[in-house]
Subunit: 325 residues, 2 copies
């Protein structure tokens, strides 16, 4: 199944709603609306049907996944009796990022071209964390952060966690995986290079915009070892790769991520960039107004337009080394 | 005011509850219970009073702060007519971490002793992010992560954000700050040193346990430029410092944190370790069973006991450099 989130106009203003996506029928199913209708057909009052539908299908995928298998069980029942009245034409949809993760990590698990990569890159699947407050969805504008002189995309697969797990091993790690989505880890190259000298990892170079979407596809629909990955800028193909070139498997990523710390429902983990999957590797830069589309076979296409450079951000005044020690 | 979270036994099992803390009266006030009682005194039905109290005072400080000034306004009204019947003796309380932050960052804003610190440390207030799923509260056990050979504490001040803000400047940054708490950034020194060679920043060396508490004190009660900070291990003082030795001010931390990315309600930002505020700087290590207490004047004491080393975590098998490029 394919699960997305849309912004729906309501009497209370625009509200996020979970939908299942049916590209072949060119519609999405408003899950709360369909469930409310099903509950009423089974005798629920309108008031209690609304309340139960809001509990099972809130606007947050994280909260929905926290309901456990009740979530997918309820969707399966709705799909068995799919009522076109609850369908919304794909062309009318205003997408949101399909996930609202409580934690956003990004690994470095593909083959890479860095001749100077340190030994630790080959010894453990390294990762860093991104501020999840900076996530955008399909068609949303990409923030061009203050001080950025080289904006870049990164073509990645996003892993969506289905529930709470800890200390997984490659043998049992797949149970943690609900689905996958397209993950564009937008990066400010000059800010990254600058701050990574401080050894605390990416901060302003990554924490401004990560795009996720267009929806989450559950793992039963895909062969995760053979997904074609492609990036086009203004319609021109810049990058191409395949998930089969992962050096650390998805099971190994999940095992290391969960070692002595929990994975939680709704959390998203990027695989890192497929080789050649960024402008940096090609000597190219994004410009304001560029249209960036990442496509992964079996999932779909995630398109974002690069925004205007932000100006007027606060610039720190350097401290005297002698004063600060 | 002082706001904490406790675990309360209910008919639905143990549930988190927000409380205001009154150390001078040796009690906490269960905010949802007090508000329910106030609403009923004003004519609300028991059912609707419970529902409204759960909306204004949920178990999550983040969600409560998302209600805006309604949160502190409601508390002020409750305190004006404080009913001892809603008080719970401090001695009966089982504390939780007072905050459930959607984002957890840690800066490096105090004077430091690293002779070899890179230039960028003195040019911008650097920070990294910690997995907020690993937060513990007062009296909770400290995870000793797999592979850790040098467990350490870090004595820090935690800044709690009150609402959504972006692109703050030192002149207006204080509006973002709801309150402060004690922040113990437990660290696995050998894991940190190892993984930080990979330039992606702290991961397994930090993402296993951060302690917050005992409660959040609102900024109106404190002079943030003169807070005494102290760490004792098994009752012996190891570390001492003062918030006045910050090299980057709290206003500068908030300004940089919010540059081209949002601050959000409930998010927590550590200042970094006060000089001498860790065992690493003193050549000392924590041991299983050690009792670690951090105290900050005007806030309180946060005590945690070090747990047993975890065993049996998954150990990656190194990749051949030639295969991974």
């Amino acid at each position: 199944m394919k699960i997305g989130r849309i912004l729906l106009e309501t009497a209370d203003g625009p509200m996020p709603r979970l939908v299942s996506v049916h590209p072949e029928r060119k519609l999405v199913l408003d899950l709360a609306a369909a469930y409310r209708r099903q509950l009423m057909a089974d005798g629920a009052s309108p008031r209690m049907a609304v309340r139960m539908a809001a509990a099972q299908f809130p606007g947050s995928l994280t909260e929905a996944l926290e309901t456990g298998s009740a979530f997918t069980d309820a969707i399966a029942r709705l799909h068995a009796g799919l009522d076109e009245r609850d369908g919304i034409p794909l062309s009318d949809v205003r997408w949101l990022a399909p996930v609202d993760p409580p934690v956003l990590r990004d690994f470095n698990a593909f083959k890479n071209h860095e001749a100077t990569a340190p030994d630790v890159w080959f010894e453990v699947p390294l990762f860093f964390k991104i501020n999840p407050s900076t996530i955008v969805g399909p068609d949303e504008s990409v923030v061009w952060p203050f001080g950025c002189e080289h904006l870049d995309y990164e073509l990645e697969l996003g892993l969506v966690i289905g529930g709470s797990h800890r200390d997984l091993t490659p043998e049992n790690a797949r149970q943690a995986l609900f689905g996958v989505t397209v993950f564009n880890d937008f990066s400010a190259r000059n800010l990254l290079r600058y701050e990574m000298d401080g050894r605390l990892g990416p901060a302003k170079g990554k924490d401004f915009c990560t795009a996720l979407g267009p929806w989450v596809v559950t793992v039963d629909e895909l062969d995760l070892t053979d997904l074609q990955m492609r990036a086009t800028i203004n319609g021109e193909q810049w990058s191409e790769g395949n998930s089969g070139s992962l050096v650390w498997s998805i099971e190994e990523i999940l095992s290391y991520a969960s070692r002595s710390e929990p994975l939680v429902a709704g959390e998203v983990i990027g695989t890192g960039t497929v080789a050649g999957g960024s402008g940096w590797e090609l000597g190219r830069k994004l410009e304001p107004g560029d249209v960036v589309t990442l496509t992964i076979s079996g999932i779909g296409s995630l398109t974002n337009t690069v925004g205007k450079p932000e100006t007027g951000g606060w610039r720190p005044q350097a401290r005297e080394r002698a004063m600060a020690r």
